[in-house]
Amino acid sequence: MWALFRRDLALAVRSGGGFGLALAFFLILVMFVPFGVGSDRAILARIAPGILWIGALLASLLSLDRIFQLDSEDGTLDVLATSPLPMEGITAAKAAAHWVTTGVPLTVAAPVLGYLLGLPAPAYFWLVASLFTGTLSLSFIGMFGAALTVGVKRGGLLLSLLVLPLYVPTLIFGAQSVVRITQGLDPTPAWMLLTGLSLLSVAAMPFAGAMALRANLR
């Protein structure tokens, strides 16, 4: 499992990996918002939490289909399925690697982009905290969607349609943890629900993903 996790990290940062993809998309999306919405700082500050969260969500969606598709195309998935690794371990290691290569960089980049949108000062801590735990559920739920669509050629559309509804609670609680602090409210309940959701995804999704993979290999 550790070998698989390390290999996925190495592949992500090598040429053709998905490491820069999510980050570049996040950057472009957030930088384009002022061009579209106008430079009124009050409006930008008000929509900043939502934009940052939607941006992070779409950016992590972008690299989901790579989780299993590449391994399925070159035969690695078949060999992994017959290897000593349990299928649940494979799905957990792959989702964790996806989180480290997309969720963590997005979390690190978010405060800089928040500054660009004029996010109020007290919100930075909660922005980082909510993205840090929230992207974990994005990766694990997304991995489940990727496992469901692994046999489908160019299944990107199907994957998005399957995964986006499951992302809604994460988006609501994630954006709320940032919005509430800008309104002077206590953000902890929203953040706790978000983190609870993430922990649930981490605990349950490897099993769901393993079942989906087993069904798809046949």
């Binding site: 070998a3 592949l11 070159d74 290999l217």
Partner: protein, 208 residues
């Protein structure tokens, strides 16, 4: 350790391709699967590997002893030869020393630091097959292993398969080429080819 297949039926998609495949292999035996294209050699190997369920019959094998090599080499182009083997050594828990020994054994040590996308088709094949040696598992399932190998390396792998069986391992190899493995038995899958399905499709029956 042994492998026995009793009346195995194999399905590819909705179609039954093989019916009633029977064989038993004891430790040290090698079985060569022959038959025309489409007869179900790959399908049977996938069933034996546990990647697809048998449509019928009983398969008696320890899944923890199986090493499977399909048509695809399971190589990552962005990793070097050494990294590819070290990854599989990590997955099978056999360690870096085994990876090095395997590289030396199959003449891959001279290209250890080359990225796999710079390898020729035959070199990739060698790297893919070297994984079996590295896995430390005793039942090898090989699907057309000699494709794109030159004569010298076909001989190298024939020797490797023979060695594996001499050491008490089992190998099942599908091939169109005559392999020089002294102890090997040959099974022609043509005899198990299932007759065209005549049973009615219940869904269509209801529909019409």
């Amino acid at each position: 350790m042994s492998l026995s297949a009793k009346n195995i039926d194999c399905r590819r998609g909705d179609r039954l391709v093989l019916a009633g495949v029977n064989f038993t292999l004891a430790a040290g035996e090698c079985l060569i699967l022959r038959g025309p294209n489409g007869v179900g050699k790959s399908t049977l190997l996938r069933v034996l590997a546990g990647l697809a369920p048998a449509a019928g019959g009983k398969l008696d094998v320890d899944p923890d002893q199986i090493a499977y090599a399909g048509h695809l080499d399971a190589i990552k182009a962005q990793l070097t030869v050494a990294e590819n083997l070290l990854f599989w050594a990590g997955v099978y828990g056999t360690g870096a020393a085994a990876a090095q020994a395997t590289m030396d054994h199959f003449g891959l040590d001279i290209m250890a630091d080359r990225f796999a996308h710079n390898l020729s088709a035959g070199q990739k094949r060698r790297l893919g097959l070297a994984r079996l040696h590295l896995s430390g598992r005793s039942i090898w399932l090989l699907d057309e292993p000699t494709v794109s190998l030159d004569a010298e390396h076909v001989a190298l792998f024939e020797a490797a398969f023979a060695d594996h069986c001499a050491g008490g391992g089992i190998a099942i190899i599908s091939t169109h080429l005559d392999l020089a493995i002294p102890s090997a038995r040959t099974l022609d899958l043509g005899q198990f080819k299932s007759r065209p399905q005549t049973e009615a499709n219940p869904f269509l029956e209801d529909f019409v």
